[in-house]
């Protein structure tokens, strides 16, 4: 399937490049519908793998790439279930999103996250599964999960550790603060910086460059330099579920969902 338009995202294949556009109000919060459509995308992109050199993931939402997991859906869904079923449902969701991100991480083509605005939590984890992040200079990155009594659960810590020094990972994780694109570029998280409003153009130019090289060599180089950290990713799911079982998490989710704070995205 070379093009698709779903409820929350769309993609189009053209001249060896897939452009996947997230478009789910307000800021691409990732819940069950987004996940289902990402799964469709992974299936479709797998079939297009041999004729694809690059994939660009971007957002059509003005305020950013993605604000992360859909916490309202998570809270509503979890509240409606007894604890045992709640954890089973959560684990099922985590297994599915990990399968999507692992497939994206290991795709034989080059994956580029073209990021503007907020790139938080699960949205940041989606970007981290890509081979490179190209960021608008107004982009911001954060892992605010600790405010909920959780850790990032979609591969964030193992993938960030794979790419960056542990000191920065701890700063980002333990303070929950957001960092701007300039800082993210300086420490090697962001591969290229784009002027305001230019990130997609820069990502397309990069995709065109990538397409010049032999596909077999490109895939081999990627596999060599970017190992998938299966064991750590599995441990992360277990730890996330263990933390989620505590009552403090549901209380924090409730507080977030009901918040009228001017800055609910911040810890």
């Amino acid at each position: 399937m070379k093009s698709f338009t779903g409820k929350t995202l769309r993609w189009q294949w053209r001249d060896g490049v897939i452009e996947l556009t997230l478009d789910h109000a307000p800021v691409n919060e990732i819940g069950s519908v987004v996940l289902a459509e990402l799964e469709e995308f992974i299936t479709a992109s797998g079939a297009l793998g041999e004729e694809t050199s690059a994939c660009i993931i971007s957002s059509a939402r003005k305020q950013g790439f993605s604000a992360g997991a859909d916490l309202r859906e998570l809270y509503r869904g979890a509240s409606a279930l007894p604890e045992k079923e709640r954890l089973a449902g959560l684990r099922g969701f985590l297994e599915r999103i990990h399968a999507v991100l692992n497939a994206l991480d290991a795709a034989p083509f080059v994956t580029i996250a073209a990021v503007h605005g907020v790139c938080f939590g699960g949205g940041f984890e989606l970007a981290l599964a890509c081979d490179m992040i190209i960021a608008d200079k107004m982009a911001r990155f954060a892992f605010p999960e600790l405010r909920l009594g959780l850790i990032p659960g979609w591969g964030g810590i193992p993938r960030l550790k794979r790419d960056l020094g542990n000191a920065f990972v701890r700063d980002l994780l333990l303070t929950g603060r957001s960092v701007n694109a300039t800082r993210a570029h300086a420490i090697g998280l962001v591969a290229q910086l784009a002027a305001e409003g230019e990130v997609l153009r820069v990502a397309r130019a990069t995709a065109a460059q990538v397409a010049k090289f032999d596909g077999v060599t490109r895939a081999a180089a990627k596999k060599f330099i970017k190992p998938i950290l299966h064991e750590e990713l599995r441990r992360e799911i277990d730890l996330f579920c263990e933390l989620f079982a505590r009552p403090t998490v549901m209380a924090a989710l409730k507080k977030f969902v009901e918040s009228t704070d001017g800055m609910p995205y911040l810890p």
């Binding site: 800021v27 305020q63 950013g64 604000a67 605005g117 907020v118 200079k137 107004m138 982009a139 911001r140 954060a142 303070t175 929950g176 603060r177 957001s178 960092v179 701007n180 694109a181 300039t182 800082r183 704070d261 001017g262 800055m263 609910p264 995205y265 911040l266 810890p267």
Partner: protein, 80 residues
């Protein structure tokens, strides 16, 4: 080194320019949430613009609870 007054004025100018508020209509003690009519995500946008303008990093936890330009300026001043 900028003075606190200069930093405050630069913040007012930047806020006026990017949030379409007439120049001169903002004052140091104004509540910027109210005056600019911004939400949490736009506050992050303002933070990015301030960091880029002043060439600093200002962790969001330092601006939590801050709502007027003068206090914001003092937080920035401590990072210059």
């Amino acid at each position: 080194m900028r003075t606190l007054e200069q930093t405050t004025q630069e913040i007012l100018d930047l806020a006026s320019k990017h949030f379409n508020v007439p120049a001169g209509s903002l004052a140091p003690d104004d509540d910027f949430f109210m005056k600019l009519g911004i939400d949490s995500l736009q506050t992050l946008e303002m933070l990015s613009r301030l960091e880029n303008h002043f060439g600093i990093e200002l962790p969001d936890y330092e601006v939590q609870g801050v709502s007027n330009f003068r206090t914001l300026a003092s937080r920035i001043q401590s990072r210059l």
